[in-house]
């Protein structure tokens, strides 16, 4: 018997979504199998993950906090991937965004005591600008010189990490520790728990304004992609650059613009993380959000609202996985999900045929 792949000529509308969900199911079954192999109880593990991530209002809030940076970096990747720009540098752009936002407080760009209503917008701008600048570099190199953005974005991640380390070990170090001094409260993004005085039920809920940034960004991105000339151009370039050029679109310019926006989104994610959660800059602010974002973008098939859903799933995995095992299991599940997704892509593009013929010649 022979296994053969034939390109699909007609993919039903429902098929990609089904394949994605199928991939998730397969990934969880495989993960469960591995957990079982090493002597764990898969059912209990997954139940535990569910409870730890969604079991109460408090943990749901924690899940959303974890999902927030993933949403913004996931959107960053989705936007670039739509144009077939393989920006795998969301991690670096996230770090630069965190650095840019921190600079507002630590340089300081605004004098101490400036009210939050001014500090936070300026931090947002600075974070987005720094992330955007980090996206501009691979964008212009790709557009002008044809340099592979995969290589440049990957390498710039390390540059960004060392850049952060320089600042937290050096100029901004607090007493020689690898972190900066804590930000003043004006530089903290408002959290639900801040309203506990008026609504006691919100006490302890750490969901912060960054989640709103994420939802707003997803909405704006959806409108831009689906309803504007710009979105039409992105779709056209993503599907067929030669057709886009033929239609009179300046592809080089679009590459740079998309990279800057992608970087700015990831940078905003970095800003939201330092402003909403960590409240200082340290070299370990990202456990690899920018890399997880790649998986999220794929899981969401580059749809802005689907990015939110996928980010919550991964937020849950990161949060609850930690209760099972500090790093092994959650990372493994993420990896298996990515593999299953890539595998399901083959199913979307091809149908599998089983040939039962006997060679005659």
């Amino acid at each position: 018997m022979n296994l053969r792949l034939e390109p699909r000529t007609d993919t039903p509308r429902w098929f990609p979504a089904t394949a994605t969900i199928g991939a998730l199911v397969v990934a969880f079954i495989l993960s469960g199998f591995i957990i079982w192999l090493v002597g764990g109880d898969p059912i209990r593990s997954f139940t535990h993950i569910m409870v730890a991530a969604f079991g109460s209002v408090g943990v749901i809030s924690d899940t959303l906090v974890k999902a927030t940076p993933l949403i913004l970096t996931g959107l960053a990747c989705s936007l670039a991937f739509r144009m077939h720009l393989w920006n795998i540098g969301a991690e670096g752009q996230f770090l630069l965004g965190a650095w840019g936002a921190s600079a507002v407080v630590l340089v300081p760009i605004l004098p101490a005591g400036t009210p939050a209503i001014v500090v936070i917008p300026v931090m947002m701008l600075a974070g987005a600008a720094a992330g955007g600048a980090w996206g501009f570099i691979p964008g212009i190199l790709r557009a002008r010189l044809g340099v592979s953005e995969i290589i440049t974005t990957l390498m710039l991640n390390y540059v960004a990490l060392f850049w952060i380390q320089y600042w937290v070990f050096g100029p901004w170090s607090e007493g020689g520790f690898q972190q900066t001094r804590p930000f003043p409260p004006e530089a903290w993004l408002p959290r639900l728990t801040d309203l506990a005085a008026a609504f006691p039920v919100l006490g302890g809920l750490t969901v912060h304004l960054g989640l709103i940034f994420g939802i707003l960004a997803a909405t704006i991105m959806w409108v831009a992609l689906e309803r504007t000339r710009w979105g039409y151009e992105i779709r056209l370039i993503g599907d067929s650059p030669s057709a886009a050029r033929y239609a009179g679109i300046d592809i080089g310019r679009k590459i740079v613009v998309v990279f800057v926006i992608s970087g700015a989104l990831a940078g905003l994610g970095g800003m939201s993380e330092v402003g909403g959660v960590v409240h200082k800059l340290q070299d370990q602010i990202s456990p690899g959000y920018g890399f997880t974002a790649i998986i999220i973008a794929y899981l969401a098939r580059f749809g802005p609202f689907r990015v939110i859903v996928a980010s919550i799933l991964f937020g849950a995995l990161i949060l609850a996985g930690r209760e099972i095992q500090p790093s092994g299991v959650p990372a493994m599940i993420q990896g298996i999900i990515l593999f299953a997704l890539i595998g399901s892509d083959v199913l979307i593009r091809y149908r599998i045929r089983f040939d039962r013929h006997l060679a005659t010649a």
Partner: protein, 524 residues
């Protein structure tokens, strides 16, 4: 062919092959006698290629039977087919450009097992090419060869593998008239040697000239099974192909040229490989004029089209109504009214995974009424797309259908609809009817003549000389990046043009001995 009822060399009985939503072959019968040239004629999408791919082992039929010399056989792969003596020359060649002819012929063979004794193989290949008139140097690298020579290498590959049955998929599409004559001589010498040939084509004249028998397919069904050429006529074949009479002669209004709209001056440009493709081309196209470029594939005609449409950098000048467009953003050429029907319809002319509607608005999405500032007015876009789909008869389930699911003829209708909708001053049409069926070709010709009537300056690049002579007001012949001759169509002689296309000079032409190609040309 000595007995009264010889066993066919190859026989297909009741072949059924379905693809999702289409019956490509519906109980097709086909038989190939030893030593004959059997033409398979049909529009694109008629199921010719499906049938041949089944015969050559690329597809497996859903039902039906193949017999080779009377014995039932199932091919699992092209390799098994060739081992049984059956090979196919595809339209797109499968040669390694950096290797020699001999190396390409030997590629994939299990012997010589390890040590290439090039000398001996070269000798064998030389003998084969001499025997069948396949002139090609066994030591030449593929990239040095013309398209016609490369085709000979493909045939040599099959002969070297001792193929007794050759399937030729539209072999004349890339050839100049003289090369077609040589190919026909080769085919005849192969059948004289006892080999059998399936000749796939949709050119009636050619089929009448070369085939012994003809099978016609239409929408997956055989409409004429193995009729002898003597028993049929072009009109009869055309009717069986399209199911109605087609008009062979186009109605043309008198030529009333307007002012020069497109002026090309001293243009030089490189091709994709960095080699000089255009060497100082100058030409004019006037409003209401169709200028046809006659050239064998790869002589700079495609590069010329890309320079005019601003897709390819160049030196020299291209003006549209006085405005320079070469070497500037493509958007400027579009704004100046340059419409472009590109050679590559699925890679350049359409975006395959976008909808018909998205493809139809490709050149006007940035203007009102589709654009509202930054936004796209979906209702307006869909309304315009639906209107164009209806007006140009684009057969698709809806305007939301992805363009890649359309047939070749309908993709071309879509491209023409969009390009004409911009109200072009200049239209560059590159191989506009290549691979289309008779009905779609007729539609394209009608549209081009309508545009001419409306005063558009049209540059028609085609490999079908008959088409150029039928449509154009003037013929420019290109050879190796130069325009080597320019004739008003009334003075154009197909023999002279053929010679110029292949590097000869007008002085070489001897009008007293018309070539076979002249005899097969369309009735004008």
């Amino acid at each position: 062919m000595t007995t009264a009822a010889p066993v066919p060399a190859l026989e297909a009985r009741g072949i059924v092959k379905t693809f999702p939503g289409v019956v490509a072959n519906d109980h097709v019968d086909f038989d190939l006698r030893t030593g004959e040239i059997h033409a398979l004629l049909g529009e694109n999408g008629a199921g010719k290629s499906t049938l041949m791919n089944i015969l050559a082992g690329l597809y497996r039929p859903d039902s039906g039977e193949l017999r080779l010399d009377g014995r039932p056989i199932v091919f699992g792969s092209p390799r098994e087919a060739i081992a049984a003596g059956l090979g196919m020359v595809h339209q797109h060649f499968t040669l390694v450009p950096s290797q020699t002819v001999t190396e390409n012929v030997l590629l994939g063979l299990s012997k010589p097992r390890f040590w290439l004794r090039a000398g001996r193989s070269e000798e064998q290949i030389g003998r084969l090419s001499a025997k069948f008139g396949l002139r090609v140097d066994p030591r030449a690298k593929i990239w040095q060869l013309s398209v016609g020579e490369q085709q000979r290498v493909e045939i040599l590959k099959l002969l070297y593998r001792e193929a007794r049955i050759l399937i030729m998929d539209e072999p004349t599409a890339v050839l100049a008239p003289q090369e077609i004559n040589e190919l026909f001589r080769t085919l005849r010498s192969m059948t004289a040697d006892g080999r059998s040939i399936v000749f796939i084509s949709h050119k009636l004249g050619e089929v009448m000239a070369i085939a012994d028998r003809i099978t016609v397919m239409r929408r997956g069904v055989v409409t004429a099974a193995g009729i002898a050429v003597a028993d049929t006529s072009r009109a009869d074949l055309a009717r069986r192909m399209v199911g109605r009479e087609i008009i062979d002669v186009l109605e043309r209004t008198p030529f009333q040229p307007g002012p020069v709209v497109l002026a090309v001056r001293d243009v030089t440009a490189d091709n994709d490989r960095g080699l000089t493709a255009l060497r100082g081309v100058s030409m004019d196209v006037r409003a209401g004029e169709i200028v046809g470029i006659a050239a064998v594939a790869g002589n700079g005609q495609n590069e010329l089209a890309e320079v005019i449409t601003a897709l390819r950098p160049s030196r020299g000048s291209v003006t549209i109504g006085g405005t320079e467009v070469a070497n500037r953003p493509v958007a400027i050429a579009i704004r100046e009214g340059v419409a472009h029907v590109p050679e590559d319809r699925t890679g350049v002319g359409t975006s395959p995974n976008l909808s018909v509607a998205d493809n139809l608005i490709m050149k006007r999405y940035h203007d009102a009424p589709i654009a509202h500032g930054w936004f796209v007015d979906d209702a307006a876009a869909r309304g315009i797309a639906q209107g164009l789909k209806d007006e140009y008869d684009i057969a698709a389930p809806s305007i939301d259908t992805e363009a890649r699911l359309l047939s070749g003829g309908n993709i071309q209708r879509l491209i023409f609809a969009r390009e004409i909708d911009t109200g072009p001053r200049v239209m560059v049409a590159v191989h506009p009817t290549r691979g289309l069926d008779v009905g779609a070709i007729e539609a394209v010709h009608r549209v081009l003549l309508e545009r001419r009537q409306a005063g558009t300056a049209i540059l028609l690049i085609s490999e079908d000389l008959d088409e150029i002579l039928a449509l154009a007001d003037r013929v420019d012949v290109m050879y190796e990046g130069r325009i080597v001759g320019s004739f008003p169509v009334a003075d154009a002689d197909i023999g002279t043009i053929g010679l110029l296309m292949t590097g000869g000079t007008a002085a070489d032409a001897d009008p007293a001995t018309p070539t076979d190609a002249t005899a097969t040309s369309a009735g004008r």
